[in-house]
């Protein structure tokens, strides 16, 4: 599966380099679930336009980390700043961050009682206070970009998994976010649908979107990532540019992980 993704998405187009402006700063972030220390002293800075792939074994805290970035999870100590806004308990700050940061989920989380179009226009209308007509135009624009505009009036339940995930990406794009978080976007898909979703993500990456992506699609990582992060047991174990990361992993745990996931 990984190999296929590599071949099909490798188009050789060079992605634009990220800027030097820091857009996400995580410093000494810690999180516990009861006694379980799920994030341990995480330090991470992300520049605007940077594309980061986070991988690691399950339970390593990688999903928790990106869920902290839009406050779907709280953290107990340390500091997370997103787009210059400190993410703490302040509801105003949290809402301000969420307006700029969108997340694509493993299980799509489309709203089943609304049509595809309504799924897309909901947030622009209610959060951005956009007139309905304009929101519809915006939605159709992004549906065309993910090549699914003919399904606009269907309900999510009538679409395939791959189509649903593309709708979910378009839904996030309708908020015109500055940062997009992907939480294992292809893990719940049937193999033949992975490509259509990855293709959309690669296009996004090449347009300079700031992306943090938890995924095991190493082809995607090689093609678009500026940095690959390997997490294990709540820590960032290794962080490197993809070439370096895949060719010369430094840490033993990274080596073991890569050998396991690239072996098949």
């Amino acid at each position: 599966m990984t190999a296929t993704a590599t071949e099909t998405t490798a188009t050789g187009v060079v992605t634009p380099p990220p800027s030097n402006e820091e857009v996400i700063t995580v410093s000494k972030a810690n999180k516990w679930y009861g006694n379980f220390h799920v994030l341990k002293d995480i330090d991470l800075t992300v520049n605007r336009g940077e594309r980061i792939v986070i991988c690691g074994p399950s339970g390593s805290g990688k999903s928790t980390l990106i869920r902290c970035l839009n406050r779907l999870e709280t953290y107990q100590s340390g500091e997370i700043t997103v787009d210059g806004i400190l993410l703490g308990d302040d509801v105003k700050n949290i809402e301000a961050v969420r307006r700029e940061v969108c997340m694509v989920f493993q299980h799509f989380n489309l709203f089943p009682h609304m049509t595809v179009l309504e799924n897309l226009t909901l947030a622009p209308i209610w959060v951005r206070k956009m007139p309905k007509k304009q929101a519809n135009e915006l939605a159709m624009h992004y549906l065309e970009r993910v090549r699914i505009s003919e399904q606009a009036l269907k309900f999510p339940g009538q679409l395939s998994g791959g189509q649903q995930q593309r709708v979910a990406i378009a839904r996030s794009l309708c908020m015109q976010p500055k940062i997009m978080l992907f939480d294992e976007p292809t893990s719940a898909l049937d193999p033949e649908m992975v490509k259509e979703v990855l293709d959309v993500m690669v296009e996004l990456a090449k347009e300079g979107m700031t992306m943090l992506c938890v995924t095991h699609e190493m082809g995607f990582a090689k093609e678009v990532a500026d940095r690959v992060i390997f997490m294990d047991a709540g820590q960032i174990v290794e962080m490197a540019e993809p070439q370096e990361f895949f060719a010369n992993p430094k840490n033993e745990r990274t080596k073991l992980f890569l050998s396991q996931i690239l072996s098949h």
């Binding site: 779907l72 969420r98 307006r99 997340m103 989380n109 709203f111 996030s172």
Partner: protein, 367 residues
Amino acid sequence: MTDIAKLPPGPLGSSSQRAVIWARKNLFNSWFNSILTLGSIAALFWIIPPMIEWGITNATLTPSIEACREVTGACWGFVNANLRLILFGTYPYDEQWRPLLAMVVLVGIIIGSLGAVPYAGMRKWIIPMWLVGIPVIAILMWGGVLGLTYVQNSYWGGLPLTLILSSIGIIFAFPLGLLLALGRQSSMPAIKTLSVVYIEIIRGVPLITVLFMASVMFPLFLPEGVTIDKLLRAQIGIILFTAAYLAEVFRGGLQAVPNGQFEAGNSLGLSYWQSMRLIILPQAMRLVIPPTVGSFISMFKDTTLVVIIGLFDLLNTVKLALRSDPAWTRYYVEGYAFAAAIFFLFCYSMARYAAYLEKELRKGEQR
């Protein structure tokens, strides 16, 4: 199916033969089933003919005691003679067109709102309908303006009272129940505790106790000179009681909506209330239509308990009619059968509506 296929074509494969095959397959497919079928048929033969004889063939509608004494069947004459007393209670006789009209208005808005629920474009009319309808009903019932004589609400009774108590009860219990359900799920300990304590206390006592407390104990806590109307107290009691049950029904619906839906709303920047209103509640409410209607039906019937604090609802006005003349007293079966029929009509309609609504909301949307 194969049996039907084997049948020769033409007149022999008639519908009566198909009926025999159907009966064999469904009613007599085992010895146990056959016994049940025969037993049921016997029971029906035993029950239905005497009921028809009593209720229709040997009954009379003539509203006089003499006519009733002559027949061996039901004395519908009792209901006929006391219809207005049963329907409107002690409301002044000459003014009874007012509760009748109020009832028509009320049933009209109920049907109007229920009809609008499945259609998103029509829903915005529901609240204006009630905002106009309730004052109209209040003016008709109380009067005192527009040349209508003032009628104290202690004279209200019968079907209008039952309908008013239950529809106002539903209108207020619904949002209160919703808030309690949300409160019970809240991450704020104070709100959560309050909601849980309220729900569990109310669910732990019978409605009759709540009504009794509302009627007898509650006034003791009020400062001297302040009185709250008996009807209002009963109404509040009913609302508070029903809300606790609805809260538990709604909680079930809320818990059935996956957490990911809320997270998706959050990550798109929607606030808690926006996510609730636009994403969670539409899904949760759809899931709880059957139990919600179940709560409404039991609440509609429970309004009869206001009799203990001296209000004359539909059931109590039957009693009033029975006592109005000692000669009528023996016809209580007819009186209560009539009241039962009215209650059945309303409750069954609610149940049918729930089934329709479920079907209607599921149209087009396949999960």
